[in-house]
Symmetry: C2
Subunit: 369 residues, 2 copies
């Protein structure tokens, strides 16, 4: 049998998983067409609607990780030749653009410094100029720790018949994600961030307006596995067999969502903010500085520049892992080797976790403080 | 917390999962870039190579269910305009054809009665006539219980520079699957059949010849999530981050593979045959008859016609489920309402299971026997 270390997961995800979620994960498997599994799917959908704060009927857990959810939305919403406006201020915006291109979209990217966000006026001007069919932005850029505001965008996008798509992989259940209030037409997340479930599923939600676009497609979706018409039918339509859903992963997500709603979204957001403030004070005291826009920093993912005492950042992270079982993320893409990404997500956004992180940093950096 | 029944899983999969596999599934999550997870991935690859009986370096667990593995192979191996020959004698052959079409292939299907297999001479003649770039066949048709022979095909396919692709979702580790000996260039399976792991991953393997085709592609793969060049790099190349792998599902697969190899492939095949023979005797005694070609019937998936005593087959299956927690599969596609599919897969291919199945059938069918 596998023997594995027990890690403290404070990188960019996966995040720590509550024991009850692991227990649900290991319940005896049942069939993907079993009426009891249909009940699990229904309850997962209803709880996802609450967490997404939406009434969208088309809300489900895509049978792949967050990248599969992103691809499901791009593949289904973008038809060959569709004009897309995609914000790229980090790795995940770049990936959205690549997926839209592979779906056949005419992709226009809008760039910003990594760690910065897009100003609403700039976005509105580009939307007015391009009148795109799809506008996609990352709410919480896991590669940079930046939080993109979404207010005022939907009206402008809808005026030209477009759809507004949001990556909320890292923000869902750690920060307000108001799908209906903000007029978001489609969003995807991941289970392994603030939901504190192991990776393997991608919660997605689509508005009736987005589903109209899917129904009116002139061409087939590139992907059969991610074809929303087929997947949606299995999740909430005729229940026709499409693929064998990852049954146990859905058990785990069910329990993770139950825990989120038991705590309450507002209390959960406050807990993430509090842990972030405590970590921030500790890091600033130790010579770290924040690398993301201070007015738009994520609480659950802290992008920091390193103090001078850290020469070889990868070696220090390796010591934290080997000696303290503490996982901290390195920089991604153009931030590799320059920054750390410290995650305080879901079950890991606690005072106890922050103390453990700071203590470990103190132990490997005797000169700091 | 979820409260669920404990089922006896004897449909077309998922199959019963051993307690040790559920235990591995619920080990504390670790990071997808953790050196310890890299070790798990390496060991999963090595064990998959043994189960596939191949030396293919490009052997990995695709982060989706079996249908994702099928799509990964079609998307990567088929370029727009590529001529494909696909055998359709059941639901899953039809799906392969659909996926090849969505990948842009010029798809030629070869049809056979459901429950029958393709004669080698007929296949060889079609291969000679069409000289296809990709030939894809289903080894064990889960919808019909038929076992397709693969000998003599590879040489003919390779003579014209083509690739031979195999769906072994239901056969892997229940019947011999000799990737290298049979000259198969690419194959995909699922975790939830004879491997007796929950659904959620798809083992795939590709020969160096198949990977040459991938490297020489003139166009990008439709799917970013399933792009083998990127996924392969994460699994065994530079280890560059691609997506967040379903970590815990890989723990479960690791343990499932360990159990397969501990038992030994030959012993496992024999156990599947023995359970099948016992079930077959019992079913024939009770007025069932086999609906698949008697010379090419799968041991792990029994397609049977129902005795006259069963008028409403769905109602009887529902009683088996509700009163005996026994899941039996109905017919799929054109066999819906006409046949049952009784699975004896992996951990469920035992004398005790067969006795339980026959006892339950006797209890709901007092007139039979």
């Amino acid at each position: 049998m596998l023997s594995l270390p027990v890690r403290r997961l404070h990188g960019p995800g996966p995040s720590p998983v509550a024991p009850a979620v692991l227990q649900a994960l290991s319940l005896p498997c049942i069939g993907h067409m079993d009426p009891e599994f249909m009940r699990v799917m229904n309850e997962v959908r209803e709880m996802l609607q609450q967490v997404f704060q939406t009434e969208n009927q088309m809300t489900l857990a895509c049978s792949g990780t967050g990248s599969a959810g992103a691809e499901m939305l791009m593949d289904n919403l973008v038809e060959p030749g569709d004009r897309c406006l995609i914000g790229v201020n980090g790795v995940f915006g770049g990936r959205l653009a690549e997926k839209a291109r592979r779906a056949g979209g005419e992709v226009h990217t809008l760039e910003a410094e990594w760690g910065q966000v897009f100003e609403t006026d700039r976005l509105l001007a580009e939307i007015e100029r391009l009148q795109p069919t799809v506008v996609a932005l990352v709410h919480a850029e896991t590669s940079t720790g930046a939080l993109q505001p979404f207010d005022q965008l939907a009206e402008a996008v809808h005026r030209h018949g477009g759809l507004l798509v949001m990556d909320c992989v890292t923000s869902l259940s750690g920060l307000p994600v108001l799908i209906d209030e903000w007029g978001i037409d489609a969003a995807y997340s991941g289970t392994q961030k603030c939901l504190s479930c192991p990776p393997g599923l991608s919660p997605v939600t689509l508005s009736p307006r987005a589903m109209e676009k899917v129904k009116r497609r002139r061409s087939k979706v590139n992907s059969w596995y991610l074809d929303l018409t087929l997947v949606g039918d299995y999740w909430s339509g005729s229940r026709a067999y499409h693929h064998t859903a990852p049954v146990n992963m859905n058990f785990a997500l069910h329990e993770a969502l139950r825990l989120v709603l038991e705590e309450g979204l507002e209390a959960r957001f406050a807990r993430h903010r509090q842990a972030h403030e405590q970590l921030k004070r500790g890091l600033l005291d130790r010579g770290f500085s924040y690398a993301s826009d201070p007015d738009h920093s994520l609480p659950m993912l802290n992008l920091v520049n390193l103090p001078a005492a850290i020469a070889d950042e990868a070696a220090v992270r390796r010591r934290l892992l080997d000696e303290f079982n503490l996982e901290i993320g390195g920089g991604l893409g153009k931030l590799a080797g320059k920054c750390w990404r410290i995650g305080l997500m879901g079950h890991g956004a606690t005072e106890e976790s922050v103390t453990a992180i700071l203590d470990a940093i103190d132990a490997v950096l005797p000169a700091a403080g």
